[in-house]
């Protein structure tokens, strides 16, 4: 068995090389993590392993043994959104929404390392995430706003 922690909850799943994405969505019911391309190009399936953001479609399950995984469901406390999530809502940083969980996790990873990023640092940190609605400006503004604790 492969044992790991998802959003603070300890889980065990039969060891295999199945993509972590499938285990999260199909076995654990955590459907907040989306599948976009399924080949590591789009970032829609981004989750955190520790503090590092990864494409969960490319991580074989066996590699998360003993790790702490955070999905979008783990960002909020119950029904209370995190300040980063609130910034996305308040600044209109989501359109169709498919890319939003991935962007949130990539931004969360950045802000854990760098609490006061520049616009360029935000752009680099989010370069592995694609938004087909092209809502990048609002997304950058939301991440910068959340980092400064500003009201929109």
């Amino acid at each position: 068995m492969t044992g790991f922690v998802v959003n603070g909850r300890r889980v065990e799943v039969e060891t295999s090389a199945r993509p972590l994405l499938d285990v999260l969505r199909l076995d654990l019911g955590l459907t907040g993590t989306k599948e976009g391309c399924g080949e590591g190009e789009c970032g829609a399936c981004s989750v955190l392993i520790g503090d590092r953001v990864v494409n969960s479609c490319l991580v074989p399950l066996c590699q998360v043994e003993g790790e702490e995984v955070t999905t979008v469901e783990g960002l909020s406390s119950g029904r209370e959104l995190s300040s980063l999530q609130r910034a996305f809502v308040e600044r209109g940083a989501a359109q169709c929404g498919i890319c939003t969980p991935g962007f949130l996790l990539a931004a969360e990873s950045l802000l854990r390392r760098n609490g006061a990023p520049t616009l360029e640092e935000v752009r680099v940190a989010l370069a592995g995430n694609l938004c087909r609605c092209t809502g990048y400006v609002k997304i950058y503004e939301a991440v910068l706003g959340a980092s400064r604790g500003e009201a929109p």
Binding site: S16, A17, L58, P60, C62, A125
Partner: protein
Amino acid sequence: MTALRAVVARDLGDAVETLATGDPDVRVVAGGTDVMVAVQAGTFRGRALLDIWRLPEPRGVRLEGGVLAIGALESYTDLQRDPLVRAHLPSLVAAAATIGGVQIQNRGTLGGNLANASPAGDTLPVLLALDAEVECVSRSGTRRLSVHDFFVGYRRTALRPDELLVRILVPIPAGERLLFRKVGTRAANAISKVVLAACVRVRDGALESIRIGAGSLAPTPIRLPRTEALLRGRRLDPALADEAGLSVAAEVRPIDDVRSTAAYRRRAAGNILRRWLLELAAA
């Protein structure tokens, strides 16, 4: 569909013993950024993955004499943050920063870039220009080979099926300039159209030595020996830069594909070297 089986190696000895069984259906996976793409696309050949991600041995960066010994499992993120790599190998840092996006850089490894042996692998021209060696381990022992002898054909390496690539050994450049340039459709998540890396020593306005590695310009990553020979010992001036650009365009063997055309690649590769030499001449 049955789940792809995982064989998780505890340590290097364990991994090498598994490889020694010679089962062709067991394929090595490190960070998964190439292997899992094939798994997801349904093109993966094999029935199990030998997972080496947690091996303690092929990790870390150490200074050994004048050589930087880099663990094959160092990720592109690790390379960008490592103080020794940053101090001595800025072109490797630059290459690591252009690969994929953060998500790929957090998992993809230097050893994986070598073993995958894509002609477009971004760190590979850098390692060629640096005259790096790779260290491979099998049950019969450890061997080192030059990275120049490692790429034996399109996506084929000199690594034997029973061997694991464990370290990359890079002689630390002394008084040499390291240059790197990647041309892609966009800054992130773009496979290269052209990659060039160089290791250059200039003395009294002349090129004392130059080594050039090139990617996406032939079936394998290559050095450019004819252009290097043309330049060695020559005085840096605009005429030489023009001559060098034409030489690169003549020496590389690119193809037309979905990412670019052979003609564009020849032109862009020549222009990158030409511009580097103009900058060095003006410095």
